[in-house]
Symmetry: C2
Subunit: 575 residues, 2 copies
């Protein structure tokens, strides 16, 4: 924009701020959150264009009545993987907007593992022109390890090429904390590429001198704290502590007692992930606010943790508060207990009124992200495991955790082949490389899924999102895998002779193009089928999705083989 135009626009806005001209919109009569002082005040908020021009008493062309209600800055999510919603971004936005979220900082780690920098481009493109602002951190660990095969490599050249693009805020969670602490060249290079920019951390249980080294290298936040002493140490050493309450991990109850008026500026509430059902039924940050306040946190502190604090940390200047010159992202809630959202204003536009979104959401994008399934040849005996011993390393699933245990179990052998042994709760697990059609298949055994028959398969398989499948009969496994391939990615359950239920996730094998309720319905059906097949797990697909993740202890399977996470190397299946 020409300087001359910018000056006239400023002069126009200043006239409104002074009260010489009416505002476009005035939010009248509410108790307004003053996140700077840490209190509420009864005040009008005047909006001109996409910004707040002032608080006090104003006249406006449109009046939003907030009397009896609380007026808050729009909520800012500081750390989420959007892919966890299983929804394409417009549908995610449609769920989040009525919950008061006006801004999200996302790490497109999953889609980048499938598509490389095209994954980042897809996320940028598919989040344009939505009634919510999406910012992104650039994935730091794609591929996550050398022990698996991702869809692409996202290297330091990609980071350098993309880092100054609009809506890119910094480097996403540096998960390779051992590599950071020990100064691995490729890791250090990525951290240095961002200078003193924002670099998110990820360092579960890291303490003491190791933590010092990690921080020295640059990461400035952590969302992986699970113990209060750990969180206290990280906070004291300069990390922004992101208190996570998502679908997978629920740390809020444990960590919230850490937060005090004196240290709250260094904390946030984040989700990290949110599955579609929780997103629809529990909500988003409104849910985390409810929990925090129910646990006794001062509401204004809780509100800061999803407004001013993330805005400051991510250097989103002019966001996170209701003050002159700030972006007009406003949420009106009924009270500070239910946080029921009545009205949302984003960049000065009313997007939610009386709890209902009043904005059209575009369709998901098509393009290359819908063509990511490249499976190699798959002969009918592809899943055979020749038995080279009588006992094996079996991955033990633990309900509600992404950790597994390594168990030593005797193996059922038929005709010299290791086979599933559902009576002993040991069944076959395979990971099929599906990005480069290499035909590579990792094979192993898993216990704890509980399937007595049939199979399940999924392309949601952290971090490389190959196809992971587990099942009793090889034919069932093959059927589930073939169905996933046919859908271009997704979740499937099958018996030996037919497909039982599916959830197509054609966007990179990670996200649906359907509405949230359709996705929830299909997920529910899949869970029911799993129960029918004998699984006692709450969500066997969730468990499945972490069985190929070789950075989380103890034993995992990738397309390249069985991984002892402690040794960070391959181990033979048979003992």
């Amino acid at each position: 924009m020409k300087m001359h135009t910018r000056i006239s626009e400023m002069q126009e806005a200043l006239a409104v701020a002074r009260g010489d001209k009416p505002a476009d919109l005035v939010v009248r009569g509410g108790a307004t959150a003053d996140v700077f002082s840490g209190r509420f005040e009864k005040n009008d908020i005047a909006i001109h264009g996409n910004k707040i021009v002032g608080s006090g008493a104003y006249t406006g062309n449109t009046i939003v009545d907030a009397s009896g209600k609380y007026v808050l800055p729009g909520f800012i999510e500081g750390h989420i993987h959007l892919e966890s919603t299983l929804l394409a971004p417009p549908e995610t936005a449609r769920c989040m907007v009525p919950r008061g979220t006006t801004c999200v900082v996302a790490d497109p780690h999953e889609i980048t593992n499938v598509l490389g920098s095209e994954g980042v481009e897809y996320m940028l493109e598919s989040t344009r022109d939505l009634p919510m602002d999406f910012f992104f951190m650039l994935p730091s660990c794609v591929p996550a390890t050398h022990l698996e095969t991702a869809g692409d490599v996202f290297g330091v050249e990609d980071l350098l090429r993309l880092k100054d693009r609009p809506r890119i805020l910094g480097l996403a969670e540096m998960m390779n904390f051992p590599g950071t602490v020990y100064g691995m060249e490729a890791v250090v290079e990525k951290l240095l590429a961002f200078g003193d920019g924002v670099r998110d951390g990820h360092a579960p249980l890291l303490r003491g001198a190791g933590l010092n080294a990690y921080l020295y290298a640059g990461p400035g936040s952590d969302h992986e704290c699970t113990e209060i002493e750990e969180a206290a140490e990280k906070l004291s050493k300069g990390m922004m502590v992101m208190i996570r309450q998502g679908t997978q991990a629920a740390d809020l109850e444990t960590l919230l007692p850490l937060v005090t008026p004196l240290n709250c500026r260094r904390t946030m509430l984040v989700t990290d992930d949110r599955d579609p059902q929780e997103l629809l039924e529990l909500g988003h940050l409104d849910h985390n606010l409810r929990l925090a306040v129910a646990q006794g946190l001062d509401p204004i502190i809780a509100i800061r943790m999803v407004t001013l604090n993330p805005a400051e940390y991510f250097r989103l200047y002019g966001r996170g508060a209701l003050a002159p010159g700030y972006t007009a992202d406003v949420v009106i809630v009924d009270d500070l207990k239910t946080f029921r959202v009545d009205t949302v204003i984003q960049r000065g536009r009313v997007t939610v009124s009386n709890g209902m979104p009043i904005h059209d959401f575009p369709q998901p994008l098509a393009g290359k992200a819908l063509r990511t399934m490249h499976l190699g040849e798959l002969p009918s005996d592809a899943f055979r495991i020749p038995a080279t011993g009588s006992s094996a390393r079996v991955i033990r699933v633990m309900e509600g955790s992404i950790l597994t245990r390594a168990e030593s179990r005797s193996v059922k052998i038929q005709d010299g082949l290791a086979v599933s042994d559902p009576e002993q709760d040991v069944i076959k697990l395979v990971v099929l490389e599906r990005h480069h059609a290499s035909g590579r298949i990792g094979k192993g055994l898993v216990s704890g899924l509980g399937l007595k028959a049939g199979a399940i398969a999924s392309t949601v398989a952290h971090d490389s999102h190959n196809i992971v499948a587990a099942g009793v009969e090889d034919e069932a496994v093959m059927r589930a895998v073939r169905e996933v391939e046919r859908m271009g990615g997704g979740l499937a359950a099958a018996s030996a002779d037919r497909v039982l239920a599916t959830l197509p996730l054609p966007v990179a094998g990670l996200m649906s193009v359907e509405p949230v309720r359709e996705v929830i319905g299909r997920k529910t059906r899949l869970r029911e089928i799993c129960a029918d097949l004998g699984s006692g797990l709450k969500d066997p697909f969730m468990a499945l999705s972490f069985l190929a993740l070789p950075v989380i202890p103890e034993l995992k399977l990738t397309d390249r083989g069985l991984v002892d996470v402690g040794k960070f190397d391959f181990v033979p299946l048979f003992l």
Copy 2:
């Protein structure tokens, strides 16, 4: 630096952080300020090169024993005009370093009024390689008004040219708050030139819708609050409230009760100015800390206000805390009451040990800044005032204030000329344009200085720093002015027949090249002489220095004439 070298350096530092190699320096056994959590903890601080690598237990090649003492981050001054010390920057640093100041953000407003962008260059150049870090904000209001003649114009082109230079942090205090509120094009253009960068404010007593407009335009801080309600409103609307306690203005006692654990992140302690005697005898931010804690503020909050808070506001990433990866600026004090500084470490070097600086300070720079005196022709009758009336507008000095009153007084007339009337405490005041040799002289009358004989003259004359002189006999005024001219700027007192005392300020007419004690000695002598000449003011030169400042009410004199500040226009001397 090549990426390869940066990586090796990082690897070396990480080894130290992990404890695998000894640190260069370890601060051992002190109670260490954790400004993030808001508490103290007994901890070693390990330093490698110019950064902190960790806290905990470390071994080091050099050990600094801090047992029984408190270890704090180096103090950061958020708003000061260095010229107020009357010392060249190296000498200012020599005074500040032993007080624990490791970082200063200065507004070179005074020297820029004399030298334009060359003034900024001088400040940048003369603060290199000192054992303190100097950052600068770019002056926003040079010349301050159209009612006076400055040495140069510092316009938006200069701002744009200099704004991305190292050590330039943003736009200095926007003093033209009426121009901002009313959208004056030249003012708005300067504010817009910095995008969403740091822009300091200056808006004494501005409240309500006017304040909203001012903030909308961009300024993000204020150091001019004098009332607690004013400060509370500014804080609530997003301003960083800089609580000022300097030589001229003392707002700390009034404003400190505003500061609470919940809002303290939005506050700082600053000085704005510090005269040489106070700098030497009271100190710098250590003095402000003492006062704040004596008034009952939690020491850790007070410390935050001169460490983490200014670092965050000015986006000085990696400063303001004792944490891994942070710049190793450390101050060890005996206790949290006297804040007596024992040791200072700046960028990993010990600069003060047992209270004594152990670092050489360079000589002040020479160059163009020493040749700023360009006085026009000055005939012996230059100061004659033909009487065109019998009563006149007289500037009334008020002890201890930079405000003046406008008085209507009858004038003593001899031979058709208005003359000084020391018996009535009305004497002649002149302002001589001294930048462009125009020969322009503003003439007026002043009461309250109290001189019964002789004259005083000075080039410290806010904001344009012309020569301001007042005296009883025209010959004495001429002698004082000539002496100031001869010195290339400075302060002088003279009788009709000789120079009585001087303080040469050859650097732009604002700063000395002598040590602080010499400057204090000469200032003391000047004050004594003024008392001998009859002045009852504590510091007549201080009063003199504000008589040419046409932005502070009520009546002022510039080289262009007498200014009614309320009307913001010239008025005749005679009524």
